[in-house]
């Protein structure tokens, strides 16, 4: 990261951390009088529809009524956004900075940050501390978005045609489209830290939130609007399932979060960037002792409540002696098994909570997928909290070999598969990873891992897979998708 940007980023981070400490939080959410109305945020302001979905928390208590817009409204919003000129670049950067502070510390739509975070925690089932970390991460990345986005600009390209050289000309970095649609994810608020880079680049953005957790994008987009983007440059368009396609169709470019099916569906569509399962992995090669890296593995599996695409799904342990992988798995299960079972709003909670029925369904699916894998965690991953919700406790399994089918099963809680690995198995089992942490110093292996195109990010040494740095690509730079370079040659006129 460039030093100036690094400094800017750290400055934003500390400013946001400071402002976060000002208010002393109330004990819990205020009692519910009436259901909160979460309106769509259209080009002329908040838009309340007749069709609404009730957003419930993990205990089944209704928390908000979310307005669901029809396809025609998405179409009209895209049109309005397309006709709104982008703000000048310096104003975009300034507005993103203001939005970061407002999002993390201000009162947005009548709601303070503490109430917001408690609501998100209750609704998503994410531990409160995870939600607070996410607030800080979103805000700091927002403040740094302008600089981060520019990191993707090819060295040969200038940011504006005005800067193109006379005579021989220049490459100019230009948008591939004006309106960018996002089918957002609801697993973790942090997923909303990526798309604001599109605003930094001058795109107008419309976000279809997850119906599971629409509060974070609602607050973020309200803050962005107040901070200077206005109602016609960034919009929130909740829809029901069958209108979701309309949001994508109305835009010029889109990004969609989802499973393998979503990835397959959009594989042939150059206008859509699918964000599929992360299947992040750790390789513990035999040139170091796994005991030295157990902390990093535990954190990589369980940080964020294990709900992120950057959480570790599989660990490959070099079988230097028979039983190495099994010994590692036992130690990992013991550490993860010590994590406390608590409701999400508890300050000490670290594990994710789901509605009890959902948790049971996930556990059943896990059991089916596990098959003959050897389980090192307690038999039942579900710890019922008795209020309609249940904690998903870590699941730790050892599989037979590095090609076992279970290793691809990514589930939204700390669920990890361990496989024995030997150098003969090579790189093949490690393919298809959003993040691969390779604990090894074998240079030839590192080179092959870097050359493997389906490994998106390669972390070396004792680096947790969840580490995300602004200015570094997440799954490639988003801007690689949003922008392209074109030649601009200016010939001075003779008169």
């Amino acid at each position: 990261m460039a030093e100036s940007q690094q400094a800017e980023y750290r400055k934003a981070e500390s400013r946001i951390a400071e402002s976060q400490q000002v208010a002393s939080p109330p004990a819990d959410l205020p009692p519910l009088d009436a259901l909160d109305a979460l309106d769509a945020l259209g080009p002329r302001g908040p838009y309340r529809t007749r069709k609404r979905a009730t957003v419930t928390d993990v205990t089944g208590t209704p928390r908000a009524e979310l307005s669901l817009v029809p396809g025609l409204f998405a179409e009209r919003t895209a049109k309005a956004l397309r006709s709104a000129p982008p703000l000048p670049p310096d104003q975009r950067a300034a507005a993103l900075g203001r939005a970061a502070i407002l999002f993390a510390t201000g009162t947005v739509d009548g709601r303070g940050i503490d109430e917001h975070e408690r609501t998100v925690s209750r609704v998503s089932g994410l531990p409160l501390t995870v939600v607070r970390d996410a607030t800080r991460n979103i805000a700091t990345r927002l403040a740094a978005a302008h600089g981060s986005a520019d990191r993707a600009r090819p060295r040969g390209a200038v940011p504006s045609w005005r800067e193109a050289a006379e005579g021989d000309g220049s490459a100019v970095w230009a948008r591939r489209g004006e309106v960018f649609a996002v089918h957002a994810a609801g697993n973790h608020p942090g997923t909303h830290s990526l798309w604001p880079e599109a605003l930094a680049l001058g795109h107008r953005v419309m976000v279809r939130p997850s119906r599971r957790e629409p509060f974070t994008p609602h607050r973020l987009i309200s803050a962005l609007r107040t901070a200077g983007f206005g109602a016609d440059r960034v919009a929130l368009l909740p829809t029901d399932h069958d209108q979701a396609g309309a949001v994508l169709r109305a835009a010029d470019l889109g990004m969609v979060y989802g499973g393998d099916e979503v990835v397959r569906k959009y594989a042939g569509d150059p206008r859509v960037l699918p964000q599929g399962p992360g299947r992040s992995k750790i390789l513990l090669a035999g040139d170091s002792d796994w005991r030295d890296h157990l902390d990093t593995v535990v954190a990589s599996v369980s940080h964020h409540g294990g709900t992120g695409c950057v959480n570790t799904t599989a660990v490959y342990v070099e079988e230097t002696a028979p039983g190495t992988a099994a010994a590692f798995t036992a130690a990992l299960a013991e550490r993860l098994g010590a994590l406390p079972v608590l409701p999400p709003q508890d300050e000490k909670a670290v594990l994710p909570v789901q509605p009890a029925a959902t948790a049971q369904a996930i556990a059943r699916h896990l059991q089916q997928r596990a098959g003959s894998a050897r389980r090192f965690s307690p038999a039942d991953a579900v710890a019922d909290l008795g209020d309609g919700s249940a904690v998903l406790r870590p699941a730790v399994h050892l599989v037979d070999g590095p090609d076992a089918p279970q290793l691809g099963a990514e589930l939204p809680f700390p669920c990890v598969w361990v496989a024995p690995w030997t150098p003969r198995d090579g790189v093949a089992p490690l393919r298809g990873s959003l993040v691969l942490t390779a604990v090894t110093e074998r240079e030839e292996l590192i080179g092959r891992l870097l050359d493997e195109p389906t490994i998106s990010n390669l972390y070396l040494g004792d680096t947790p897979t969840y580490r995300i740095e602004p200015g570094l690509p997440h799954d490639g730079y988003l801007a690689e998708f949003l922008m392209h370079s074109k030649s601009v040659i200016k010939t001075p006129s003779n008169h």
Binding site: P70, S210, G259, E410, P412
Partner: protein, 378 residues
């Protein structure tokens, strides 16, 4: 006014027969060997009751099984009541959309068409559709009854009817096969043709389906043309959700009369939007009762065990609740009671004393998602 049996079944315009007398007259007509259709006369043998003596009231229509599925295979001529003589005035044979399985066939006779049309034209007047305008219809023709009603409405309420053809079965098939892009291209092809008519002709009434209207509304030039020329829009054929309807009425076509109908081949016509609804009222549809009546019943009823008898599909939901639509058609020309439609609706009290329900906020039958776990964290 006292009417005899045939008069009760064919009352002059504006005269509403007593619904129970009407049903009894219809049973006499459809199940007497001299007047009934070959289909019903044959089917009567396996009903397990005698409609002429056992069906005394409108509510007794619940005794009939749902025979709609049999109309896939019945020879169309067997559906014509013998009472129409040897040279019945047949307008045409029409088919259902064919969404679920092979299409079902019905026969449209002239007297019913005229009755439906007279009622429909009165409804259009009540909505404020000016008479004598040119109409443009982007509705299917061929085997689809809606095309015939469009043509006849344009000719009787308006002056000239311009048409753009479309094949809804092909669209459904494309969508079912995951060829959404091709379906979209086909829809744009239809809008392109409608645009040519709108540009060159003096069109005052537009009849269109909601999906095509949405595509038309995405083109600024066409919105402008419609706002300049078209005085009234009549939509139908698929559902229109209340929020989209608001957008059309408030923002996109604010000065255009906007009125819907809810049609079904199996009722040989349609229900019309109730005139005079307020801006916040749901879109309510009324039928030409007692010839066509709806009931809104328990959505759990599947109605597939058509073995006869009162088998529970007619348990109504409370007013204001959503249920499945059951339609009855009872006229001299045709009898089809207890047809379970694919749609759900909010049950609303009918105008006057009924029988039957009005329906609002039509929506397709929803299939509930099961608890399948999709792998991944999103």
């Amino acid at each position: 006014m006292t009417l005899n049996g045939t008069e009760i079944l064919n009352p002059p315009p504006g005269v509403r027969p007593d619904p129970d007398q009407f049903v009894r007259a219809a049973m006499q007509w459809h199940f007497s060997p001299e007047t009934g259709s070959p289909y019903w006369l044959h089917r009567a043998g396996s009903l397990g009751f005698d409609p002429r003596t056992d069906v005394r009231t409108h509510a007794d229509l619940a005794l009939f099984p749902n025979v709609a599925g049999e109309l896939r295979d019945v020879p169309a001529q067997d559906l014509i009541p013998r009472g129409y003589g040897s040279r019945p005035d047949v307008v045409g044979v029409y088919e259902s959309g064919g969404t679920t399985g092979a299409p079902k066939r019905v026969v449209l006779l002239r007297d019913w068409l005229d009755r439906m049309l007279a009622w429909s034209n009165e409804q259009l007047d009540a909505h404020g559709f000016p008479r004598g305008l040119n109409w443009l219809g982007t509705v299917p023709s061929g085997p689809h009854i809606v095309g015939e009603y469009f043509r006849r409405s344009a000719a009787t309420h308006g002056t000239h009817g311009f048409t753009v053809d479309l094949d809804p079965r092909w669209v459904k098939r494309l969508i079912a096969e995951g060829r959404g892009k091709e379906a979209g291209a086909y829809a744009e092809h239809i809008v392109d043709q409608a645009a040519e008519v709108l540009r060159s002709q003096d069109i005052g009434v537009l009849t269109i389906t909601p999906p095509l209207l949405e595509r038309l509304a995405a083109r600024d030039e066409l919105v402008e043309l419609v706002n300049k020329k078209v005085r009234a829009i009549r939509w139908g054929g698929t559902q229109l959700d209340p929020d989209t309807r608001d957008l059309y009425r408030d923002e996109i076509f604010p000065d255009t009369v906007f009125s819907g109908n809810y049609g079904s081949t199996m009722i040989l016509g349609f229900a019309g939007e109730r005139p005079g609804l307020g801006p916040d009222d749901p879109c309510v549809f009324d039928t030409l009762s007692p010839f066509v009546t709806f009931e809104v019943v328990d959505p759990e009823a599947d109605g597939t065990d058509g073995t006869g008898g009162a088998y529970g599909i007619n348990e109504p939901v409370p007013y204001g609740s959503r249920g499945r639509v059951v339609a009855h058609h009872v006229s001299a020309s045709f009898l089809l009671p207890n047809n379970l439609e694919r749609d759900t609706a909010i049950r609303v009290p009918a105008l006057g004393e009924g029988p039957g329900d009005a329906v609002a906020d039509i929506a397709p039958v929803t299939e509930f998602e099961n608890e399948t776990v999709i792998e991944g964290v999103y």
